[in-house]
Amino acid sequence: MKYLDEYRDPELARTLIESLRRRRFDRDARLMEICGTHTVAIFRSGLRQLLPARIQLISGPGCPVCVTANEDIDRSVWLAQQPGVTITTFGDLLRVPGSSSSLHVERSKGADVRIVYGSLDAVRIAREHPDRQVVFVGIGFETTAPTVAAAVRTAAAQGLENFSVFSAHKLLPPAMRALLEAEDLKINGFICPGHVSTVIGACAYQEVVDNYRIPCVVTGFEPLDLLQGIGMLVEQIESGKAEVANQYRRAVSWEGNVAARRLIDEIFEPVDCTWRGLGVIPRSGLRIRERWREFDAGSRFSMPAIQVREHAGCRCGEVLRGVMTPPECGLFRKVCTPQDPKGPCMVSSEGTCGAYYRFS
C-alpha cells in the first residue's frame, strides 16, 4: 500500500534492529507506549522479542475503553435501559462489563444499541428517528473528541432535539503526569501516541518533559516508525537528555491541529475525571459546556446514583499503570478471556490483556 509499505520494509527494519543491538547499554531502558494502538502494533509485528533484553516495552493506559471507569459503563447501561432511548457508540465499548451488565447484554435483552463508525452517524440516526432519544456514548481521547464536538454542532445546526452525548472523553497529558507522580512506576521514556498528537501536537508533551525530565518521542504505528522512535528514545536516555522529539512528522506538527483543538474547546471544558486504575485525575476529562447543555445526556436524563462494583481480583488498574503485565494477574487466561472478559483490558481490541492473549 502506498504510504504504508515504505514503513514496513524488512531490510530497513533489520538495519534498525541491528543498530539497537549494537548499542552498549549501561542500564535498562523501560519505555512506555501510552497508546493502545501502539501496543497492538508492537504485538502484531512481533517487535518485542526482536529488541535487546535491556529495552523493555511497557504498555500504558492509552486504550480509551480500558480507562473508562466502571461508573461510566454503568451509566451507559442505565441509559440503554430507558424506554425510547437508542444508544449509539463505537464497537469496542459494547462488550465492556460494568458492575452488572454491558451494552452487549442490554442489546440482547432488547435495548436499542447500535454500533456506529463515526459520531455523525449517530446524528443521522437521530434525524431519521425523531420519536427516539438518541444518545452517543462518547469515549476516546483527543483524537475522537473533535469529531464528537462536530456532531454536537451539526445536531444544533439541524435543530435536533433528540440527540445528546454522554461524554466520557479523556485527555492524555494529565494522565501522563499522574503516572509520573505514582510511586510504583519506573519508566525512562514515553512512546507518545501518533493519533492523539495529530490533534494536540508535539508541543503538548513539553510540559511533561520540563517538569519530570523524561524523554518523549511522538511515534507512528508502523514497525519502522516504532523502531525509529525507540532508537530516538534510547539515544536521549544514553546521553542523559530529556526532550520532545517527533518521529511522526508526516502526520504530527509541533502545534497540532489548531482547528480541531478550537472545536474541542468550543464544545467541551476540562473537568476532574475518574480513570480506571488511576483514580481521579484533575482536569483530565471533557464535559460539555453549559452553552451546549441540551446536548449533554447527563443534563437531559436525571440519572440515579449508581452503586459501582469492581470485579474481585481484576488487576486491570495495575496493568494500565504498567506496574504489572497481564500474565501476572491471577485471572488472566483462567477466568478472564476474550469470550468472558472480567476487565476492560481483556475486552478492548486495543487492551493490553487482550493483546497478550491474542498474540503471545
Binding site: 527494519a13 469515549i139 481521547f141 475522537t144
Partner: protein, 336 residues
C-alpha cells in the same frame, strides 16, 4: 402471482404457495428431478462415497457488490462439498421469506441462484418455502443442503495435515467480508470492494487432477484464514506458520481494514480455498491453481510445522514472531 410483495398466504401451502413455487422457483431451477414435484427427489449418483452438507444464509444486506444471498447460498454449499474432494451434484433449498419482501428482490435472488447452480454444474432438486410475519425474519433466509460424490483415491480431511506440508491459497483474502461490511454500513471507498463469492469446484478439481494427494482443503469463510487454520491445526495436532509478507491482501481491502481497525486474517471469504499439500506436490498444485481463473493469484502463504501443535504462528514482515489466535466473538471496529 398478483402481489408485488410476499404475502403470508404464499407460505400457507395452498394455491398461493403453489403459484409462487411454480412461477418462480420451478421456473428458475427447472430440471427433471424437480419437475416430478414429489416429496423428495430420487437422484442418481456415481460409484464412490457420498458427501452431504447443509448451511443457512442470513447475510445482511441480501444484495452486495459481487453477489447476493442466492448466489452465496449456492457457492457456499458447493464449496463445502468440494472441500472434502467431492464432486457436487444436487442441492436442496429452503426459503424463509418475510412478509412484505418484494417479489422483484426475490426474483433477483432466485435468478442469481439459478445462474450460480448452472455455472457450478449442480441441480437444485428439492425445496421448501415458508413465509413468516413481517419482523419475524430479515427479508429472506436461505438454507441449502448439498450432496456430492467423492471418487475413490481422494482422502481430503481436516485431520490430514502433516509437518512439512505447504499452505496454499488461491488469491486475496478478506474481500467478501469487507464488501458486505462496506455495503451494510454505507462506507464508500474510492473503488467499490467486491465479494469474491464463487463456486470453487472447478478449481478444486483442477488441483486434485494435478495432485490427488492433497491433504486438506478448507474454505476460510466466517472467522477468516486465521480461524480456519487454527481449526486445521487443532484437528491435525500440528502447528502452522504463516509468512506475513506472502499474504495476498488487496490494497482496497487492506486500506478499509486499516481504517476500521480490523485484521484481514479474520475477515470472511466466499471464494477462497486453503490447501494443505505435501511438499512433493506443492509446486504441482500451485501451478494447477494458477491455470484456473479463480486461482491465478495463488501462492504459498505458510507451512505446517511439528512444534506448537494446535497453534498458528506468523513470521512477521520484520522477522518477528507472533501468535495468530482463533477469532473470538466478532471483530468490532475500534475507536481510534
Amino acid at each position: 402471482m398478483q402481489a408485488k410483495t410476499i404475502q403470508l398466504d404464499q407460505g400457507s401451502g395452498g394455491r398461493a404457495t403453489h403459484e409462487l413455487v411454480g412461477e418462480l422457483f420451478i421456473r428458475a431451477f427447472r430440471n427433471d428431478f424437480l419437475l416430478e414435484l414429489n416429496d423428495s427427489a430420487l437422484v442418481n449418483v456415481e460409484n464412490g462415497r457420498i458427501a452431504l452438507t447443509t448451511d443457512s444464509y442470513v447475510v445482511d444486506p441480501i444484495v452486495f457488490p459481487g453477489g447476493n444471498i442466492g448466489s452465496l447460498a449456492v457457492h457456499g454449499t458447493v464449496n463445502d462439498l468440494c472441500m472434502r474432494g467431492a464432486k457436487p451434484l444436487y442441492l436442496t433449498v429452503g426459503f424463509i421469506l418475510e412478509e412484505g419482501l418484494s417479489i422483484e428482490t426475490l426474483e433477483q435472488v432466485v435468478e442469481a441462484m439459478s445462474c450460480a447452480a448452472r455455472e457450478a454444474g449442480v441441480l437444485i432438486v428439492a425445496g421448501d418455502t415458508k413465509v413468516v410475519p413481517r419482523g419475524k425474519a430479515d427479508k429472506v433466509f436461505i438454507n441449502t443442503s448439498g450432496i456430492g460424490v467423492v471418487p475413490a483415491g481422494i482422502q481430503v480431511a481436516g485431520q490430514n495435515a502433516r509437518a512439512g506440508d505447504a499452505v496454499l491459497i488461491n488469491g486475496s483474502i478478506g474481500d467478501h467480508g469487507m464488501a458486505v461490511l462496506c455495503k451494510r454500513e454505507g462506507l464508500a471507498f474510492e473503488n467499490e470492494i467486491r465479494s469474491d463469492s464463487a463456486s470453487l469446484n472447478g478449481l478444486v478439481w483442477k488441483m486434485l487432477d494435478a495432485f490427488p494427494g492433497i491433504h486438506v482443503l478448507r474454505d476460510p469463510t466466517r472467522g477468516g484464514v486465521a480461524t480456519t487454520l487454527n481449526e486445521i491445526a487443532a484437528q491435525s495436532d500440528v502447528g502452522v506458520r504463516l509468512f506475513e509478507e506472502a499474504l495476498p491482501i488487496r490494497e482496497d481491502v487492506a486500506g478499509a481494514c486499516e481504517i476500521l481497525g480490523l485484521d484481514p486474517l479474520y475477515v470472511a471469504n466466499e471464494g477462497k480455498v486453503l490447501a494443505i499439500v505435501p511438499p512433493e506436490g506443492a509446486e504441482t498444485a500451485l501451478a494447477a491453481m494458477r491455470e484456473h481463473p479463480l486461482g491465478k493469484d495463488a501462492r504459498r502463504i505458510g507451512e505446517v510445522v511439528a512444534d506448537d501443535p494446535g497453534r498458528v504462528f506468523m513470521r512477521t514482515r520484520i522477522g518477528g514472531h507472533r501468535l495468530v489466535d482463533m477469532l473470538r466473538g466478532e471483530q468490532l471496529p475500534r475507536i481510534c
